[in-house]
């Protein structure tokens, strides 16, 4: 197998060599060399041909042939791909190299050309330069030679002279210093010493030792004296300044900063004073200093010291102004915070009088300080502090008032539980109490704030208008927040109630919730009070003392009484409406239950007025009790009892009813029964059922009762009655009639509505034959007797 390919290769090689004749000898040689290198091992040689692709004597044909012979088709293909990739790589490499070389070549030619151009003009210039330089040199040499001798001499002499003078000075130094010390001319002394100091430093340990020691001694004395002078406050400022100045000059090594530090410690003294006073005030909380006292303390301790220090500093360092200002500012920040703290007593309402007093002191102080230090912008700081202090004061006063009012309202939630027996009229008491708080509180606030305005402190004058705005805005905010509170309070309780419906809580919150309608009524009444009495009064006072305002370019004043009034009127109306709705719903529920419960088609003959009537009266009484506490009685439109005694009234109503009943029984037979009814209605007074409620007892109760009766009518309309059922309704309505007439402002409405109820029952009755009026009368009387008896026993 191996020989066949060999022979085949040989034959191919021969063919190839015959074709490439020129290569023949080479290949023969190389094969010869290869075989010579590895004798007897042709396959090994062939293997070599495969590896020798990078060697010098690489033979393409042999490589090819051995490759073809030895590798499979797959291998060949792979090899092909590999080689193609390699060739490509080599190609691109080569290209790159060529390109780079070419580039270099081009740049090189460029450089050469440029060099050639530059060099061409240089030759002549160089020659000229050389000539000049040599000329200069010869001249300079000549001068040097001529002057050399004399100059040396002069220099020598000069040096000796100065040295002699210095030595003289140093030797004289102690003497001079002493002289100065005697005559207290410290400035001179320092100057001399300064002059000698460098020499003494250099030669102090050798030739001038004695001299140095002596002069140092003297200087030490001088320094001590100067320092003593600085420390004694008694010396005139000028002297101190001098002393420090000398010290500065004397010890330049100790820098200005060092001295500043000294000064700052001096300034810190007032700071301590400041802290002390504040500490005092905090430590003695039980008997706190009044702000005024505190201010006085501050003034004494701090401001005097400060003024002194500041003026001293100024004289000493005319240049150090900036630093002083900085330090002062820092200091004053502390000062003002402590001032503000002192203006905010922790407990109780601060009175404006004290505020005014302290503000006065402050303004005087600030003036004083400003005179000392005009650059620090103290008045601005002070104004800022005062402004914020006053703002806080106003805000606190108003929030105090607001919390008092809301507190009074909220405290109403609880009292009924325990003391309901001895506090008969919690609502009334609360109403009076809260009214008093609102009115008196507002007036107090105004009086208090007015003091601030009257005692016009310098600092306050500038923003008087803003202050007025502040006060007015305070009232505006107070009232708007009250409105929100009013509207939110019953609602909040309502939420509690609905939550309770789900969770079935115990009885204690229930009793509180029973109080919700009352609260609503109270708030409604309060709204009216604020609208009609409190706000006008406050407006009056405000107008009298807080005129002006509108400084901030607002188009409207901060306090708009008309707006507040309107808002309160609406709030009041809403609350009243809610109250009425709530109570009417309660009654309606009672009535509708009473109508829905029985089976009217199998009703037995009525023996008595039904129980729900009693319950209804109980509820109405409870409402009345609530309403009486809060609202005015109001005018009754019709005369109640003046024109008719009780029995007469009832008989009269009986007759009218009988008329109607008989009419309806007749109309039963007539087809146009409805027309009949319409005609009957024509002759009756048209009744307004749903009128707008007023803030009177009668009006509120009437509205509630009207709503309730209307519900009664609607419920009856949904039922179907047998004769007895109808008679029962007739009896109930008849029983309700008189007591209800007592309660409402317009009897006609009650009559009308009760007639409607019984007419509705008649319409919905299969057999509407009414009870005899005598029977009705008898049953009602019996019920009345029983009720009064019950009342009597309950009273006992």
């Amino acid at each position: 197998m191996a020989e066949d390919p060999n022979e085949k290769a040989k034959r191919v090689r021969e063919l190839l060599s015959s074709f490439y004749r020129s290569d023949e000898s080479d290949s023969a040689e190389s094969t010869a060399a290869a075989t010579a290198a590895m004798p007897g091992h042709t396959p090994g040689g062939r293997r070599d041909t495969l590896l020798a692709i990078n060697t010098k004597d690489f033979n393409v044909d042999r490589y090819m042939s051995s490759l073809i012979r030895r590798t499979s088709l797959e291998g060949l293909l792979k090899k092909h791909v590999e080689m193609a990739a390699e060739i490509k790589n080599l190609d691109s490499d080569m290209q790159m190299l060529v390109y780079e070389n070419y580039n270099k070549f081009i740049s090189a030619t460029d450089t050469i050309r440029r060099m050639k151009e530059n060099v061409s003009g240089m030759e002549t210039n160089m020659e000229q330069l050389l000539d000049k330089v040599t000329a200069v040199r010869t001249t300079s040499d000549g001068v040097n030679a001529s002057l050399f001798e004399r100059r040396e001499r002069i220099e020598e002499l000069n040096g000796t002279r100065s040295l002699l003078r210095k030595v003289q000075f140093v030797f004289d130094l102690p003497k001079r210093l002493r002289k100065c010390q005697k005559s207290e001319a410290y400035a001179e002394a320092v100057k001399y010493y300064m002059g000698a100091l460098p020499i003494l430093k250099v030669y102090g340990k050798t030739s001038f030792q004695a001299c140095k020691e002596e002069s140092e001694e003297v200087m030490a004395i001088i320094t001590k004296r100067l320092q003593a002078r600085v420390m004694t406050d008694l010396d005139p400022v000028q002297a101190r300044a001098e002393a420090i100045n000398k010290l500065v000059e004397g010890f330049l090594t100790s820098s200005l900063d060092h001295l500043l530090l000294a000064l700052q410690t001096a300034a810190a003294k007032p700071k301590f004073a400041l802290q002390e006073t504040t500490e005092n005030s905090t430590s003695e909380l039980s008997a706190p200093h009044s702000p005024k006292e505190l201010m006085e303390n501050l003034e004494k301790d701090f401001i005097k010291d400060f003024a002194q220090v500041a003026s001293t500093f100024r004289t000493i360092f005319p240049m150090g102004e900036k630093r002083l200002t900085e330090a002062t500012k820092e200091l004053f920040n502390k000062y003002f915070t402590s001032v503000q703290e002192s203006l905010q007593p922790e407990a109780g309402l601060p009175s404006a009088a004290e505020l005014v007093a302290s503000l006065k002191i402050l303004s005087a102080d600030v003036k004083q300080m400003h005179a000392v230090l005009p650059e620090a912008g103290l008045p601005e700081c002070a104004a800022k502090a005062v402004k914020s202090a006053v703002k806080q004061h106003v805000a606190r006063i108003f929030s105090g008032l607001a919390s008092r009012i809301t507190g009074a309202i909220e405290s109403l939630h609880w009292p009924t539980k325990g003391q309901s027996s001895d506090v008969q009229k919690p609502l009334q008491l609360a109403l009076e109490n809260i009214q008093h708080i609102i009115m008196q509180g507002s007036l107090d606030v105004l009086r208090d704030l007015k003091e601030l305005l009257d005692d016009s402190v310098d600092l306050l004058v500038k923003w008087r208008d803003a202050y007025v705005d502040l006060v007015q805005g305070g009232f505006q905010d107070l009232f708007t927040s009250l409105i929100d509170e009013f509207l939110a309070l019953p609602w909040r309780n309502g939420i509690e109630r609905s939550g309770q419906d789900i969770h079935e809580k115990t009885a204690s919150p229930l009793s509180r919730n029973a109080f919700v309608p009352g609260l609503m009524l109270l708030l409604a009444r309060l709204s009216v009070y604020i609208e009609q009495i409190a706000v006008p009064k406050i407006t009056e006072v405000v107008a009298a003392s807080f005129i002006g305002g509108g400084a901030q370019g607002q188009e409207r004043p901060a306090f708009v009484p008309s707006e507040i009034c309107r808002a309160f009127r609406l709030t009041g109306e809403k609350l009243l409406r809610q109250y009425i709705e709530l109570q009417a719903r309660k009654l309606s529920l009672l009535v509708s239950k009473s109508v829905a419960a029985p089976n009217w088609l199998q009703y037995k003959e009525p023996r008595d007025v039904r129980m729900f009537v009693d319950l209804l009266f109980e509820e109405v009484e409870a409402i009345e009790a609530e309403v009486q506490q809060v609202l005015e009685p109001g005018i009754v439109r019709m005369h109640r009892r003046s024109d008719s005694t009780g029995s007469a009234g009832s008989t009269r109503s009986n007759t009218t009813r009988e008329d109607r009943n008989s009419r309806s029984s007749i109309s039963q037979r007539v087809r146009s029964r409805l027309l009949e009814r319409d005609v009957a209605k024509l002759f009756k007074q048209r009744i307004e059922i749903f009128t707008k409620p007023e803030y009177t007892q009668v009006s509120v109760i009437s509205t509630i009762i009207k709503m309730c009766l209307k519900s009664f009518q609607e419920c009856v309309r949904l039922e179907t009655f047998n004769r007895c059922g109808f008679q029962q309704i007739q009896l109930d309505t008849q029983y309700l009639r008189d007591p209800l007439r007592e309660l409402v402002d317009d009897e006609a409405v009650v009559d009308f509505l009760l007639d409607e109820v019984s007419a509705a029952a008649a319409e919905r009755c299969l057999d509407p034959i009414p009870l005899e009026s005598a029977v009705v009368e008898k049953l009602i009387l019996a019920k009345r007797a029983k009720a009064s008896e019950f009342e009597g026993t309950s009273l006992q």
Partner: protein, 390 residues
């Protein structure tokens, strides 16, 4: 076109009446059905039609329906088919009726009973037809139960397909079939609103304490799913988003006594009509509830900032706004009073229905049997049409 004429059109039924409905299948004419409620007389169903010029209301047919009619509903696909809820001898029933072809005879013809929906034991409240298009399903509601019926008009039979019991002490008073999801029916259930899934016959959704007392009526928004308006004995009208039923989107003050009916306009969802026992019909403008922006806008007034919560709780600002509306009502009541020789306040609005033909017209029926046709004022129409075209 004929708007000005509408305001004074009325029609009287000689008995008391509680229910009026528009003939939904009749899209060419404005027709209404009125059922009377007379305990002791023979009751009638009146077919009344508004003339094309809108000037008068004619009786097109009068049919005897022996027992008193408590509720009336017209079939959405057959103008001659109606369902009634009626009571006789204290028992409440529901039936499907066919209006006989020849209606103008000397004797008032009888309604032909197709089928009676048997099975109710409590007081039946209403029947609900499939909300849109032709379908044989029907729902009837009594105080505690809800039945789904498959009606076969030709066979004259109805089978119970499903039954839901709301449970004891859950007085259902009204219902509404969701027009956006026909598998859901909502009912006013005591003081809450409940949605029932007709596939599983289970409660799907609920709004607890929708009103402080009994919920009287509910209606789905015709254009936006999951929005619903409700009215109750606390006199309030509330708009709800069923996906977020904790708080109403909107509350309208409603009426001075119970609010009995509340209805969306079938075309313009901004218009809501309500009727109450205080004899007043109110037309409300309810802004498109895009669920988050529950702003309330006036019928003719300026749009208010939705951010101001005060405006929602007080309605002082709306006083003038509602005035427009009330004014209209007053005018219309005044006119109506003039009819009654200025004496009667009567009871409008135990029934209210929008016309199916002209969305601007609405009718109201008072307990004493008076039908009144009114229409939305021009200014509002214009505004709404513009809004719709935008």
């Amino acid at each position: 076109m004929q708007a000005n004429m509408h305001t004074n059109v009325s029609y009287g039924v000689k008995y008391q009446a509680r229910c009026i409905t528009a003939v939904r299948a009749d899209t060419h004419r404005t027709r209404f059905l009125v059922g009377t409620l007379s305990l002791r007389e023979e009751n009638e169903v009146h077919v009344i039609q508004l003339s094309d010029n809108g000037a008068d209301l004619r009786c097109e047919g009068l049919y005897t329906h022996q027992p008193e009619i408590w509720d009336l509903a017209s079939c959405p696909f057959d103008a001659l088919m109606i369902s009634t809820v009626y009571a006789s001898g204290g028992e409440y029933r529901a039936s499907i009726w066919k209006i006989p072809e020849r209606s103008k005879g000397f004797n008032t013809p009888q309604l032909q009973q197709i089928v009676q929906l048997d099975g109710h034991k409590d007081i039946v409240k209403s029947t609900l037809w499939w909300p849109t298009g032709k379908h044989n399903q029907l729902v009837s509601i009594d105080e505690e139960n809800l039945y789904v019926w498959a009606l076969d008009a030709s066979e004259k039979s109805a089978k119970v397909q499903g039954h839901i019991s709301a449970g004891r002490l859950q007085t259902m008073s009204a219902g509404c079939w969701d027009p956006h999801d026909v598998t859901s029916v909502a009912t006013a259930c005591g003081s809450s609103i409940k949605c029932w899934d007709l596939r599983s016959m289970k409660q799907a959704n609920t709004i607890e304490q929708a009103h402080a007392v009994q919920v009287r009526d509910i209606d789905y928004n015709p254009n936006v799913p999951d929005i619903m308006v409700s009215a109750g004995d606390d006199s309030k009208i509330r708009v709800w988003d069923l996906r977020n039923s904790g708080m109403p989107l909107l509350e309208l003050p409603g009426h001075s006594h119970w609010t009995w009916r509340v209805r969306y306009n079938p075309k313009y969802q901004e218009l809501v009509l309500s009727a109450g026992t205080d004899s007043v019909v109110n037309l409300w403008h309810v802004s498109t509830p895009s669920s988050t922006e529950d702003k309330l806008r006036s019928t003719s007034g300026s749009p208010r900032s939705p951010l101001d919560p005060l405006l929602r709780s007080h309605h002082e600002h709306e006083d003038s706004v509602y005035e427009v509306l009330q004014c209209q009502c007053k005018i219309y009541i005044a006119k109506w009073r003039a009819l009654c020789l200025d004496k009667d306040i009567g009871e409008i609005g135990t029934g209210v229905a929008w016309s199916s033909y002209d969305p601007w017209i609405f009718a109201s029926l008072s307990y004493d049997g008076r039908v009144l046709i009114d229409s939305v004022p021009h200014a509002i129409r214009k505004k709404l049409s513009q809004g719709a075209s935008k």
